[in-house]
């Protein structure tokens, strides 16, 4: 492990990669601050740049930097404007915004920065410990288990979608898998479902789909419903926190780093769930007099979600780097970028390309440090980006989505596909269909079919399902994950019917 660490350190410390971390964090912070643009859109927009660099470690370092930067930037706009740029930082606004209203914006930003730093760093430490262990287990997996594992991942994502949403999330996943079968499959070399259109021969482009699913609907929502961006004009001063405050938030940071990390590792449960859960847990275990402060500017209430969401971001890298299975929309986009760079994440990544694996981990430490020391003093200036008028902002966002799709394929048809899919995605968003499962399904689709077909060929039929106990176990977990939420909601309703509506 020490060898790997040194290898990672030497890769991550190269001038180019250091610049990538800094650039990624800054870009992420800038754009993440803009309400309505989440890390998924930012990463989707950055992918063409990352891919054209050609160096997978540098690309992943850049994109990971953008990811933490976006979460950090999102918390800045949550605190200053009560307008979270990122779903994962909504919980930060509960206490951050009241603090800013009380004139303690500087203090709130410092707490957010320290909590994010601690969450990210502790998360990276845990990643260093758990990822190698998990990937040595994963090396025992065959294609049958991989197939089953992907089924579990996809069902978990649907299961976390919320009550009454499981079927919708599953349908979106299936739609993503269906879209992945368009074009030539790796195992058969036969064009499928192309309807004779040459442009579909190579399938849909993942960048176009990512842009259409996330960046375009978010930009259109900004157009449809302009968000009020006043505020943030007051000077931000007094960034210091007292020793007593530091002592108060230290245990919160410790607990939430752990909890956030493990929530992040679960597929489907990302930074958003981690931050809300972190907030709720800390409020429940706080002493009575502190409990009343939650929601009115409690420093614990700010530190908890900030730590948890950063730790969860780091945690979500565990399944990506060790199993090659993304647990969230953002890591799914990262996976797509890696595949485009000819790197297949998975248990072999640590053995075959240790410099990528370890340099990403080392860059997490560097990235968190960069965010702490670079952004904290710069925050008052970075917050000025919130003053960019929307009539400049929106055309530029649209332009960058178009450019991203065009550069990837050098094909103008791709732009029409982008607009078409973007419209569909907006309609789906109106009807409350989750979009991340579609993209995750699309990205996993090819791998899932390959593993399924390989297992079928090895076992000459579907007997692999019951002949390999681990595969059977995983598939049972997947069924439980899907059935349990609807069963529970049905039971809750049945119980509710027995109770009279009396007062």
């Amino acid at each position: 492990m020490l060898e790997g660490l040194l290898l990672g350190l030497s890769t991550a410390m190269s001038i180019q990669n250091l610049l990538m971390v800094i650039a990624g964090c800054l870009i992420g912070t800038f754009i993440g601050m803009l309400p309505g643009l989440g890390p998924m859109s930012i990463i989707a927009i950055m992918i063409p740049v990352a891919i054209s660099m050609g160096d997978p470690s540098a690309a992943l370092i850049l994109l990971a930097g953008v990811y933490y930067g976006a979460i950090f930037g999102g918390s800045t706009s949550s605190i200053l404007l009560n307008a979270p740029g990122v779903a994962g930082t909504v919980a930060s606004s509960f206490d951050g915004y009241p603090m800013a209203r009380q004139g303690k914006a500087g203090k709130a930003l410092t707490i957010a920065a320290i909590a994010s730093f601690a969450g990210g760093t502790i998360g990276a430490l845990l990643l260093m410990i758990f990822a190698p262990a998990l990937s040595s287990v994963a090396l025992l997996f065959h294609s049958a288990e991989y197939f089953a594992l992907m089924v579990v991942g996809l069902s978990a994502i649907a299961a976390f979608a919320g009550t009454g949403q499981v079927a919708k999330a599953l349908v979106m996943t299936i739609l993503g898998l269906i879209m992945a079968t368009v074009g030539e499959g790796a195992l058969f070399n036969l064009p499928r479902f192309t309807m004779g259109i040459m442009d579909l021969q190579s399938g849909f482009s993942f960048i176009t789909l990512a842009m259409a699913m996330f960046a375009l609907p978010e930009a259109l929502f900004l157009v449809l419903k302009p968000k009020e961006l006043s505020g943030g004009k007051d000077a931000i001063k007094d960034l210091r926190i007292t020793r007593r405050e530091a002592r108060a938030i230290a245990p919160v940071i410790g607990r939430q780093s752990l909890q956030g990390f493990f929530i992040g590792v679960l597929p489907g449960a990302g930074a958003t769930i981690a931050s809300f859960l972190g907030y709720a847990v800390e409020r429940n275990i706080a002493p009575k007099h502190e409990q009343d402060e939650f929601g009115k500017g409690s420093i614990k209430g700010l530190a908890a979600p900030e730590t948890a969401n950063n730790a969860a971001c780091t945690g979500s890298f565990v399944p990506l780097l060790t199993l090659g299975i993304p647990g969230s929309g953002t890591t799914a986009i990262l996976l797509g970028a890696l595949i485009a760079l000819n790197v297949t994440p998975g248990p072999r990544l640590m053995l075959d390309e240790p410099q990528i694996f370890w340099s990403v981990i080392m860059s997490m430490f560097i990235g968190n440090l960069v965010l702490l020391i670079l952004n904290l003093p710069l925050i008052p200036y970075i917050a000025k980006v919130l003053a960019v008028p929307r009539y400049y902002l929106i055309p530029f966002i649209l332009f960058f989505t178009l450019m991203g799709a065009y550069i990837g394929q050098n094909n103008a048809t791709e732009l029409l596909l982008l607009v078409g899919f973007g419209l569909c995605a907006t309609a789906l968003k109106f009807a409350d269909y989750p979009l991340a499962p579609l993209l995750i399904g699309f990205i996993l689709g090819g791998m899932m079919e390959d593993n399924f077909s390989r297992a079928m060929q090895l076992y000459d039929g579907i007997s692999f399902i019951w002949e390999r106990p681990m595969c059977l176990g995983l598939l049972c977990i997947a069924i439980i994950l899907v059935v349990l939420p609807s069963y529970r909601s049905r039971r809750a309703k049945a119980r509710g019917q027995g109770v009279a509506d009396g007062d």
């Binding site: 349908v171 269906i178 259109l220 449809l224 077909s453």
Partner: protein
């Protein structure tokens, strides 16, 4: 019928068409030696189509009850929002897609940025024009010179 069920109906249609293609049209052209394989190119799509049909029917019939949520934007009152701006921007994107090759990157992009800002209500030409031109020029320089991806800068008739 609510929008989500209409969408489920459309998805059901897609799954049915996809399933028809997978079950009835794909296997005909399969080479004889591949027929002995336990897995055919149509195997996975067949499974997907069945699951997709079942799930979209579940949504269509409303078997899974969900509590109505207050969405960010209520599509029933779409007229209350800046709908024409959004439509105009979408039209602009299509126009950009069609013009990018024949008109060239520099002209179409500056036009896109200028018209986009105009649609959204910017009227200060002395800021708008320099911003659009500088942004277009620097993006072109970055993509073409730094990243090395070819973007035709001028209209095709100039032969570049």
């Amino acid at each position: 019928m609510a929008l989500d069920r209409w969408i489920a109906l459309i998805i059901l249609g897609i799954c049915l068409a996809y399933g028809y293609a997978a079950w009835f049209t794909m296997d005909g052209s399969l080479a004889p030696f591949m027929r002995r394989n336990p897995v055919w190119p149509s195997t996975f799509p067949k499974v997907l189509s069945v699951i997709g049909i079942v799930l979209s029917t579940v949504i269509l019939l409303g078997l899974e009850k969900s509590e109505p949520k207050s969405a960010d934007i209520d599509y029933r009152r779409l007229g209350d929002y800046q709908l024409w701006q959004a439509m105009a921007l979408l039209g602009l994107m299509v126009a950009y897609a069609l013009c990018l090759r024949p008109v060239g990157f520099l002209i179409s992009t500056s036009a896109f940025l200028i018209v986009g800002a105009l649609i959204l209500g910017e009227r200060k030409w002395y800021i708008l024009l320099p911003v659009a031109f500088i942004a277009t020029g620097s993006v072109w320089y970055l993509v073409q010179q730094v990243l090395g991806i070819f973007l035709r800068p001028l209209p095709a008739i100039f032969g570049v």
